[in-house]
């Protein structure tokens, strides 16, 4: 046997071993997952817990199969499929588990884009709030147009640390006339406290609906930058007592936020000084 033939043989053997291992490994994983789903709904508690543990160890690749198993009519299976999915997502959110997080995020987005029952999609949206990243934003922005799921999508976007999440909420706010939905979106922008969300909130100060105006006042206190504070002073100077009081509270929130930054301490001090003068008079 020549050296070349020897090398070819070795390569062939290695490939064969890989293929054989793959043959057993991949199908056995599939078989294992299916065989573990049924015990999740078993009346025997130890079987359920064993299946839960085994599926958790499989990681995010079994997430979609777990969502398929979430049948509200099969109560125990539904409960344990949810418990298992939640644990897998939390594990994927651990520091240093980036590949698992990416995989879990993809699986959740896939569920959100598919035709699952309402409760199942809602559950996927809520799990996405825990680990979602900028990659989820375009899909969540679409869900903001869906009246059934938009509220949960809004809450999920609040949690995602990305300017694109702010932009999607801004776009939704600009596109709605529904005062209740406006309040929801303004509250979300306030929660995020991102100056990129300021512009439509400023506009909402002029809204004909009082609740929208009050939401905008509160949100500006949390965005807490110079332009927000200027707008709040204008509200504060008006005669409307409820808006003035809300503006006072928002200004104080802004001052507290600003006082955490050495660069903004002077601006915070100005707010305290002016409100104190008003308090004395």
């Amino acid at each position: 046997m020549t050296d070349g033939e020897d090398k070819a043989m070795k390569r062939h053997a290695a490939i064969s071993v890989f293929l054989i291992l793959s043959f057993f490994a991949l199908p056995s994983r599939g078989v294992d997952v299916e065989s573990l789903i049924e015990p999740l709904g078993s009346s025997d508690e130890s079987s359920r817990r064993a299946a839960y543990q085994a599926l958790v160890e499989q990681g995010p690749e079994v997430l979609e199969r777990l969502f398929q198993a979430m049948d509200p009519e099969q109560k125990t299976l539904n409960l344990w499929a949810r418990n298992t999915a939640e644990r897998i997502v939390h594990n994927a959110g651990s520091p240093g588990a980036e590949p698992q997080r990416v995989q879990a995020e993809s699986a959740l987005l896939s569920v959100i884009q598919s035709t699952y029952p309402r409760q199942t999609k809602e559950f996927a949206l809520r799990l996405l709030a825990r680990i979602g990243t900028e990659r989820s934003v375009p899909i969540l922005a679409e869900v903001l147009n869906d009246k059934i799921h938009r509220e949960t999508a809004r809450c999920t976007l609040v949690m995602i640390p990305s300017r694109k999440a702010t932009a999607s909420l801004v776009k939704a706010l600009k596109g709605t006339e529904d005062p209740n939905w406006k309040v929801a979106l303004i509250n979300a922008l306030g929660e995020r406290g991102d100056a990129a969300g300021r512009s439509p909130v400023l506009k909402a100060l002029q809204d004909e609906n009082r609740e929208v105006r009050l939401a905008a006042i509160s949100a500006l206190g949390r965005i807490a930058d110079g332009k927000s504070v200027s707008a709040l002073w204008k509200v504060w100077e008006k005669d409307d007592s409820s808006e003035k009081a809300a503006a006072t509270d928002a200004l104080l929130n802004a001052a507290e936020e600003m006082s955490r930054s050495p660069k903004k301490e002077k601006e915070a001090r100005k707010i305290y000084d002016r409100l104190q003068i008003a308090e004395r008079s």
């Binding site: 508690e45 359920r48 109560k75 125990t76 409960l79 418990n83 939640e86 644990r87 939390h90 594990n91 959110g93 651990s94 520091p95 809520r126 709030a129 825990r130 680990i131 509220e151 949960t152 809004r154 809450c155 609040v158 949690m159 640390p161 209740n180 309040v183 929801a184 509250n187 979300a188 306030g190 929660e191 609740e211 009050l214 939401a215 509160s218 007592s241 409820s242 808006e243 003035k244 009081a245 809300a246 006072t248 509270d249 104080l252 929130n253 001052a255 507290e256 006082s259 301490e265 915070a268 001090r269 305290y272 000084d273 409100l275 104190q276 308090e279 004395r280």
Partner: protein, 439 residues
């Protein structure tokens, strides 16, 4: 949520505090917190009660017996409970004057109400507390005080900004046995205290119940309030809300709120918290309950002391290098037993369990939890379980739940009140409210 009545003024003390924080300099303020109405010793304190179910009714009974308080109004989203609450008050006062309403915002606008007591499900404690403080009311809120850690931070800001008197309903602080046990721990009578065991009941499971329409007379949307929308289910109301994460933290924040508060008191950590949380929780085997059935958590403080959860006894056991004391509702044990003959000092008060050394319990700062609150409303002092203590104590329970939910050891920074190096855990510090509610 509505704005703040213009009659409510920001406290001078709060302004001073913020000014010092902001600029590091003192400033001259001549104004006063004139808004705080003085209540003379002969005046009755006007009370409104929000939530008159199980715990709310117990509070109502206690306050009806208190000569220093007068219940003007009751509020509940469940009409049957509301009507029953009003009937109790009217029967006690022999009139029909008690105002009753579905929405707490209507109660806050009633004249004559100085303070409110909150006995609602857990997820409502903070939204109502904050609205009440902004409306110029003093507050007693049932435990667990908060549903998320950031709710507690927001509450502290509002209570202090508006100069309100706030009491958390962790009444073991007003118990002689618990006070004594904490005194033993704090004064070194147990040697170096290394462990506080929280002995807690299990959470149990809730059987499967189908969703239905809400029963007549129940304002289900307002019951849900800031929580995500969910169909009505009898497992959630009445009474089962503690099995669901959207409304509660389960057994750990229910009884844990009491015992973690005692542990924090005895360990001398009222103004801080653990730095690590680690544990395993077991989910209910079946039914629709979500919160943990059993749990085994260890929370570690910067000085090495630990809080450890145990089932199924009740109470708190402080274990030190020279002995232990175990205290529960109605009893106390110690090893060596002679520890129970000690006289200890805690919070500037001396206390003994020795029957040969009788003490006048009534002269202590908090002979009874409601009484302490009412007294502080008159004096404008801070109650024994004020907002910061309540927040720090329940934070211990939230950390315990979170390390189990996330399935990993968590590092906590008790100064910044953030998890260290764990973005996902930090997302659990708050939750967006369902509109129109906001924090």
């Amino acid at each position: 949520m509505g704005g703040i009545p213009m009659s409510v003024r920001i406290t001078r003390r709060w302004f001073m505090k913020q000014a010092f924080r902001s600029a590091g300099l003192g400033i001259c303020i001549t104004g006063s917190s004139a808004w705080a109405r003085g209540i003379s010793p002969n005046d009755k304190i006007g009370i409104g009660i929000v939530g008159v179910g199980g715990m709310g009714t117990q509070h109502l009974r206690v306050l009806l017996r208190n000569p220093g308080a007068h219940i003007h109004a009751v509020c509940d989203v469940d009409q049957a409970r509301r009507d029953e609450g009003k009937a109790r008050v009217d029967d006690a006062y022999r009139n029909a004057d008690c105002f009753s309403c579905n929405d707490f915002r209507d109660l806050l606008e009633q004249p004559g109400i100085d303070a409110i007591l909150i006995g609602t499900p857990d997820h409502w404690h903070i939204p109502i507390s904050i609205a009440a403080c902004k409306a110029g009311k003093d507050v007693y809120s049932e435990k667990p005080l908060t549903h998320t850690i950031n709710e507690g931070k927001a509450l502290i800001r509002v209570v202090q900004r508006y100069g309100r008197v706030f009491q958390t309903g962790t009444q073991q602080r007003s118990s002689r046995e618990f006070r004594f046990a904490c005194g033993l721990a704090r004064q070194g009578k147990l040697g170096k205290v290394h462990t506080a065991e929280l002995h807690l009941p299990t959470g149990g499971s809730t059987g499967w119940v189908p969703d239905t329409d809400p029963p007549p007379g129940l304002d289900w949307d307002l019951w849900l309030g800031p929580a995500p929308w969910a169909p009505f289910n009898q497992a959630r109301h009445p009474g089962g809300f503690r099995s669901f994460w959207d409304y509660s933290g389960g057994a750990l924040t229910d009884w844990g709120a009491h015992h973690a508060d005692t542990a924090q008191w005895g360990l001398g950590t009222d103004d801080t918290g653990p730095i690590y949380a680690e544990g395993i929780g077991v989910l209910p085997a079946d039914g629709i309950a979500e919160t943990f059935d059993t749990f085994n958590v260890t929370l570690t403080y910067a000085n090495g002391a630990k809080i450890v959860t145990k089932h199924p006894e009740h109470g708190v056991r402080f274990i030190g290098s020279a002995g232990w004391v175990h205290v529960w509702r109605g009893g106390i044990e110690a090893e060596p037993a002679d520890l129970l003959r000690e006289t200890v000092e805690i919070d500037n008060e001396q206390i003994t369990m020795d029957p040969t050394k009788q003490q006048d319990w009534r002269v202590w700062a908090s002979p009874a939890h409601h009484q302490n609150w009412l007294q502080c409303i008159r004096t404008r002092k801070r109650p024994v379980c004020h907002e910061e203590i309540g927040h720090r104590s329940i934070t211990v329970c939230h950390l315990a739940n979170l390390c189990m939910r996330l399935g990993r050891k968590l590092q906590w920074d008790p100064v910044k009140e953030e998890f260290v190096g764990d973005d996902e855990a930090n997302r659990y510090l708050f939750r967006p409210y369902r509109p129109p509610w906001r924090l």
